[in-house]
């Protein structure tokens, strides 16, 4: 998928996360350099870049100086204990936090070349570029067809053939077409939990986003449905950039190219998933991954 990113493709060396300022971190550890060095994705440019992001709910700070890059056509997973800020960060990427009163954000988030928190940025247009899949499947109380077509309909698309094509393409993309092609007119709420979640993925795909944000998409699914969604994530990677928040360590290991570990609103470590899980650079990461806390 092409995006309008006028910047030159950065050299691999440029993709390194800048070394954090030690003063901002917990004093108990020193954060090592964590190079982003997966050869498979190094050729792609950065899709999402978070720079020195601080987020406050009222007077309570929820994110501290987060610096992060997500390479295009890769899967980045956010892990960490509950309340560590990983979902909050995810929701910063399509400005869903705007819906909450009393939220204050400092820092910069770039999607492609767009600074999404710049005053001139159109939130509506941004959200079309970043599809979102939620923890609990939330199909609309409409037919399967209308669910998938929703994104196009609100953009004013009324042409039946275009809608039908988009619905078929998206449902195929989400691996749901074979199961529902004969009952597109039925209510989406008659589908099983796993099917509903894949329908939500299809709904997100229909508007051809660049990034797909997934907020614990499998936490309410059984193992088989989870496996289907995970397979799907690996397929979608070819076309989209995916950021996934997960509680499931094995899932992060299975599907993601890169992993970011958060703790208490701080990004502790980020890097290649393989390295994170076999040879984490930080003691806390190791403790968390091995289940010693969290």
């Amino acid at each position: 998928m092409e995006i309008d990113d006028p910047r030159p493709v950065p050299e691999p060396a440029q993709l390194q996360v800048p070394p954090p300022e030690t003063g901002m971190r917990a004093a108990s550890f020193v954060k090592p350099d964590l190079p982003l060095t997966d050869p498979a994705v190094l050729t792609s440019p950065t899709m999402v870049q978070v720079e020195r992001l601080n987020l406050y709910y009222g007077s309570k700070q929820a994110l501290f100086d987060v610096d992060l890059k997500v390479a295009r056509n890769s899967v980045m997973s956010f892990i960490g204990p509950s309340g560590c800020g990983k979902s909050t960060l995810l929701r910063c990427l399509n400005r869903m936090n705007d819906l909450i009163d009393d939220v204050r954000i400092e820092g910069r988030v770039l999607m492609g070349a767009t600074d999404i928190y710049a005053p001139e940025t159109d939130v509506i247009a941004l959200r079309k570029r970043a599809g979102m899949v939620f923890q609990k499947s939330n199909p609309f109380p409409k037919s399967i067809f209308e669910n998938v077509a929703y994104g196009l309909r609100i953009q004013g698309e009324g042409d039946r053939t275009i809608l039908e094509e988009a619905v078929e393409r998206s449902l195929k993309g989400a691996g749901l077409w074979e199961e529902v092609k004969d009952r597109l007119k039925d209510s989406a709420q008659g589908l099983s939990g796993g099917q509903q979640q894949r329908l939500c993925i299809a709904r997100a795909l229909a508007v051809r986003p660049e990034v797909i944000l997934m907020d614990e998409p499998c936490s309410a699914l059984d193992p088989i449905a989870t496996a289907r969604v995970e397979e799907l994530i690996l397929e979608l990677k070819r076309e989209f950039t995916i950021v996934i928040v997960t509680h499931n360590m094995q899932q992060a290991a299975r599907v993601s190219d890169h992993t970011a570990f958060f703790w208490m609103g701080k990004l502790i470590e980020t890097g290649l998933t393989e390295k994170m899980f076999t040879n984490p650079g930080h003691r806390m990461t190791e403790d968390y991954i091995t289940g010693r806390f969290g």
């Binding site: 941004l126 079309k128 609100i154 709420q189 008659g190």
Partner: protein
Amino acid sequence: MSRLTDRFRQGGVFVWFSGTLLAFCLAMILSLVGFIVSKGMGYFWPATLVQVQTPDGPVLGEITGHEPARGEETEKVQFRVGNRDIYGQDFRWVPAQGMGSPEQPKDVLLIERLEYGPFIGRVASLSHEGQVVATGPQALAEAMKRLPEANRQRHQIQSIEKGRVGELNRRIEKLRLARRKLEAKGDQAGLQALDAKTAEIQATYDQVQASLEQARTEARAWTLNLQTADGQDKEWPLGSVVRMVPANAMGTFDKLGVYLSRLWEFVADDPRESNTEGGIFPAIFGTVMMVLVMSVLVVPLGVITALYLREYAKQGWLVRAVRVAVNNLAGVPSIVFGVFGLGFFVYGLGGTIDKLFFSDSLPTPTYGTGGILWASLTLALLTVPVVIVATEEALGAVPRSQREASLAMGATKWQTLWKVVLPSATPGILTGLILAIARGAGEVAPLMLTGVVKLAPAMPLDGTFPFFHLDRKFMHLGFHIYDVGFQSPNSEAAKPMVFMASLLLLIVVVVLNLFALNLRRKLRKRLGGSTF
């Protein structure tokens, strides 16, 4: 002791307690409906006519009441003797002492008439244009045979009076208004043209009147010579007879036929005799139509208000105050709404509309007087708090996850509301509408001030352009009950009508509610199970 506490803890006692209360409520509702049904439904069954001898002569009629001896009062029996034109009243109390043994003569009958209530007595003879055609039992048989034809003629006369004559009257009225306009302008040629038109219509009118007169004469040709139990004679045209019921000579099937025909007349016909006889169809129609117009008005009003309060307004002390005010509005006595409707809608809005658009017909008001539009608007105002509260609840019950899903797709807030939130909230909104209908259909007081009348000359929906006449006054079942029961000169005779009208009002409310419930059920099914 410990076992008792144990039972308390397990809640068994409270299950019984709440169950008992529920049973009590059900019993109350059932006895209310049962009472109304038993009082009203028996009214149409042809009652046995009983004749007794008293010191003052024979008394013939239906036995309608009985009062045992109490203190100085002796035992009394109430007879419905009919013949209001002869006796002056429909009912008579007869002391049980000195009353002969009751008989049920086969040859007596009850004749329902267009005027003066029923006649109870015997048919002496039947005449055609003054010539006696048959006497005794043959006269009754002949009259029964000729009755359907007489009724058909009467209906024809009525339809001419209502349809053609009414139409001509409307046209003459239009010409009169046009004439006034032209006179003001001083347009002589126009006036002459108008005169010609008026003369033309007048000619048609005279023609119709003549044919009506002829039909009326024909209808009067057949007359019944009637005789009361105490030997008074009465001549009565067959054309003014509705039904002849020789109850004592009838089998159960015949009685059933009379019963059904009376029931049908009650539901489908216009009222007679200052509403104490005939049907109540205009009242049923008026009630239903008013509720429908009210629903059409109240839903947008309530939903838009709730939408703003819940979704757009900044939640603060002002919104809280508005909510409290809205809830209090539901507790304002309905007559206050009636006064408001009269002052604001009828005189204020209606008066202004008349000045702007119907100034020709002033001083006769068009909208500046009570009408179904103003009554419905007043009721919509009365019931809007219910819809607002229900809609707010329904909006709040739409899961946050669905709003987020829509917003995350790049929908604006308005698109989210319109395409996701409102459809999900529709069953809840319909719940509000159901409550509003239940409240609105039973309301009488505000209507009396804003458009309900005892007898409306024309219905708010008919075949003349523009079909919906929102300016017309209308009849209403609730008001009908009040009027027939407590304002009529002959309320004793109309008592069963009160119960029947009550029953019909209940049925109308239930049917309207069932309609809305069914709509809600279908919507819910389509939405796939929502909590409301």
